[in-house]
């Protein structure tokens, strides 16, 4: 390993790990898986770092690797049985009628196709422009727009988050 390049890469990893871990959590729904996903993606990136055009491309390339890796994991279905931090409960079962908003959104996200979910997270969590999302996802801007539209529609169909709204989109009241 080249000590200079390794140092630069290590600084990127240590500096951006938490942000990437958050992104991974929204892709996978579990913190442990998110950490595994980030490390797996960064390992792949390390082997291809010589082909990157610039240091700025590192983060974008890492996100691409994370999206692709999470999709591969999902296809292989190796994570059929995994530990969860909180057991999901139906909304009506709460004795106080209090619904965990975060849990509901997580469950709604889990119903989306993997790439649609990734597109929504890139758009509304990372706040990236459509052109950059298209670059990360390896698709056209039109595909990004349709994925966002379909994803939001799907979330609204979900009774648990029927009242969701998003910038540029008309909110639907539950």
């Amino acid at each position: 390993m080249d000590p200079g390049r390794d140092q630069e890469f290590a600084e990127f990893v240590d500096g951006r790990f938490t942000a990437l871990q958050r992104f991974g959590y929204l892709l996978t729904g579990e913190w442990h898986l998110a950490e595994d996903l980030v490390q797996t993606a960064l390992t792949k990136v390390w082997f291809h770092r010589n082909s990157l055009r610039s240091a700025n491309a590192l983060e974008s390339y890492t996100r691409t690797a994370m999206v692709n890796t999470s999709t591969q994991w999902w296809r292989r279905k190796w994570r059929g049985e995994t530990p969860t931090e909180i057991m999901p409960e139906p909304a009506g079962d709460s004795p106080y009628g209090v619904v965990d908003d975060r849990d509901l959104l997580l469950r709604a996200l889990a119903t989306l196709p993997r790439r649609t979910r990734a597109t929504l997270v890139l758009r509304y969590f990372e706040d990236l422009p459509e052109a950059e999302i298209a670059q990360i996802m390896g698709c056209s801007v039109g595909t990004v727009k349709s994925n966002v539209s379909r994803g939001l529609a799907k979330l609204r169909e979900h009774q648990l988050v029927a009242g969701i709204s998003a910038p540029g989109m008309k909110a639907v009241e539950s």
Binding site: M1, D6, F9, A10, E11, V13, D14, F17, T18, Q21, R22, F23, Y25, L26, W31, H32, A34, E35, D36, V38, Q39, T40, L42, T43, W46, F47, G80, E81, T82, P83, D101, R102, L105, L106, L120, V121, Y124, F125, D127, L152, L155, V161, A162, G163, I164, S165, A166, P167, A171, E173, S174
Partner: protein
């Protein structure tokens, strides 16, 4: 419920747990693992190719491809048993959290310093002087195994006594049960690979 999606995403991912290891060290550990695995794959292929050529060149001696007629095997001469001054003792320390196990492997002992690219490696973390390792989590996951071809040990001559550990490795078991984690590490000068195993109970 009429909330902004962006704000809800932010709240959802607001509290990440601390990473289980220093991120860059964890990633470099994986990089090393992949590199060792790739190197081992190349070494195995090269060894197999050399072995195949050797077998063909020694066993097929004429146009009819008949193996040579060999004389009776010579009687081996008994050798005096001398205890080896080299050896490594491994220690495994599993930490179980839910179904995820973090395994720390450490070792101490005396080995020969390997010679890589014409230069003797400096004394350092003992485990970094390894010639390869193999481990199994004891479940259905694929066992890991990566060893070099031993070239770094061929001219090794300087003894080194030390200790060290490798970055912790994590694994998530699919279901509860008792599993046996086994680990094997190879060093220059040590005749038998250092081995250790430990039982891990997942509830």
């Amino acid at each position: 419920m009429n909330d902004d999606l962006q704000a809800r995403f932010q709240r959802l991912a607001a509290d990440p747990p601390p990473p289980t290891a220093i991120p860059s060290q964890a990633v470099f550990a994986r990089v090393r693992k992949v590199r060792r695995r790739r190197a081992a794959g190349v070494a195995v292929l090269a060894t197999a190719a050399v072995a195949a050529v050797f077998a063909i060149s020694t066993n097929l001696t004429d146009i009819d491809s008949q193996p040579p007629v060999l004389g009776p095997p010579s009687t081996p001469t008994p050798a005096a048993t001398v205890p080896s001054p080299y050896g490594v003792k491994l220690t495994l320390k599993p930490v179980v959290k839910g179904r995820t196990v973090t395994m720390t492997v450490s070792g101490s002992g005396t080995v020969l310093l390997p010679i890589a690219q014409g230069q003797e490696l400096p004394p350092q973390n003992l485990m970094a002087l390894s010639e390869g390792s193999a481990y199994s989590w004891g479940d259905d996951s694929e066992p890991f195994s990566a060893f070099s071809n031993g070239a770094e040990c061929a001219k090794a001559k300087t003894p080194y006594k030390g200790s060290g550990s490798i970055p912790p490795d994590t694994h998530t078991y699919a279901k509860a049960g008792t599993y046996t984690y086994s680990y094997r590490e190879r060093f220059c000068g040590v005749k038998e690979d250092a081995t250790a195993s430990v039982q891990v109970t997942i509830r």
